[in-house]
Symmetry: C2
Subunit: 263 residues, 2 copies
Amino acid sequence: MAAKIISCQIVEYQGREKSCGEENLVYEYPLTIFLNGQELVTLLCSQEQADALALGFLRTEGLISSYDDIVSRRFDQSRGVIEITTKQEGQLSERLYSKRLIPTGCGSCGKGGLFYNIIDSLKCRSVVSEISLSPEQVYDFMSQTLNYSKTYRVTGGVHSAALFDNSKMLVAAEDIARHNAMDKVIGLALLDKIDFQDKIIAVSGRISSEMLLKTAKLQIPIIISKSAPTHLAVELARELKVTAIGFVRGEKMTIFSAEERIK
Amino acid sequence: MAAKIISCQIVEYQGREKSCGEENLVYEYPLTIFLNGQELVTLLCSQEQADALALGFLRTEGLISSYDDIVSRRFDQSRGVIEITTKQEGQLSERLYSKRLIPTGCGSCGKGGLFYNIIDSLKCRSVVSEISLSPEQVYDFMSQTLNYSKTYRVTGGVHSAALFDNSKMLVAAEDIARHNAMDKVIGLALLDKIDFQDKIIAVSGRISSEMLLKTAKLQIPIIISKSAPTHLAVELARELKVTAIGFVRGEKMTIFSAEERIK
């Protein structure tokens, strides 16, 4: 089953040449799993086969051992909630309790059904910044970020991220996980007492809704990536007035939101 | 600062031609953060700038607002533990409590300092399977898995995963997150009452230690990927007798562990 795709209006640059167009984005969906009446985790996922995702998650986390452990499951697609009841209710709550924190996979978030509340509460805090960049600066910042990672060239196994002001790279980091690379850059900026006002963050990996939320929380006005954003990241970027630029490759880029900052 | 690289003995195939060699792998490191005496989260990361990662994580999760909130930090590199004390100890515990589950980023795991205990407990459960594959089957399974995802070709924003027996694809799924794609495949297999004995899992994304642990827990003997594994994934694969094959591209592949299953 193919993942849902959302078409979205964008602004494209080739060199200095600007044009308008459409880009297809993959739909990103918060799915909250309740196990035996208890909120377990919220996974950010593609909407299709959400039911299978919930079962697979319970199995790989060792919370069920086969399909026969399931007594009932109820999936409310519009609310993004799946409620699962299992046989060993007692044993499970003990196991959950002893774990205390539920392991979450890539792209997951532990905020539970609160995901949309958090987005709501951020809406009043749109990013305010007068900074603007030329297309050449964006191309240059992206290329500096990608060239920073010598490890990538040797192993193909890391992501890099870097923070810029409107003239130069301030700090950079790499990690096996794209969220970690970004968090390292944030931590390095804290250690150097750099504030995030009017800065630009460049990342090698995809822009997911979590990456976009990190950017907005820090009031960073511009995020650039060589990869694609998800549809939810673009929706958030538009709400929160973050300039999200994807597919920055050589002298080409695609602007998904707040394009007035590129001049 | 460049991420640490580990050189590792591998077996390479080009078509049917086999040779031995070395491959550089990025080092993967479990870092457990204690905040005000409480175990917060374990991040799987590159070892460098672990200090900055911990600070950045606290900042992007809203647990500190600036460097000035930090009273002390102590990093024990050999144990992979960082202990941070902050000013607003009282307020923080309340905020943690009200969140209940701590959001964790990509590649993170909530198992806390127990990470190595879990690995230890798995050691006694090495994957036992007599299955073997020809190189051509591996190339074919990878190409079927990559071609499954029409969304990838349209958006560039998803990962795909599929489960095979030694002759054909059984179930397949795609998702914006590689862990979700894998969990969906597991869930689909559960729904179809397929057991995992003697099966092969193919994934488009990198093989991290978490992906490898999921594979081993289900007693799946072979995992194949078009991308790189991390060093910790390879270490685990060797301990747990999982055949881990990376860089499967066209008629080439690299075998990192338990190569006796490829004939």
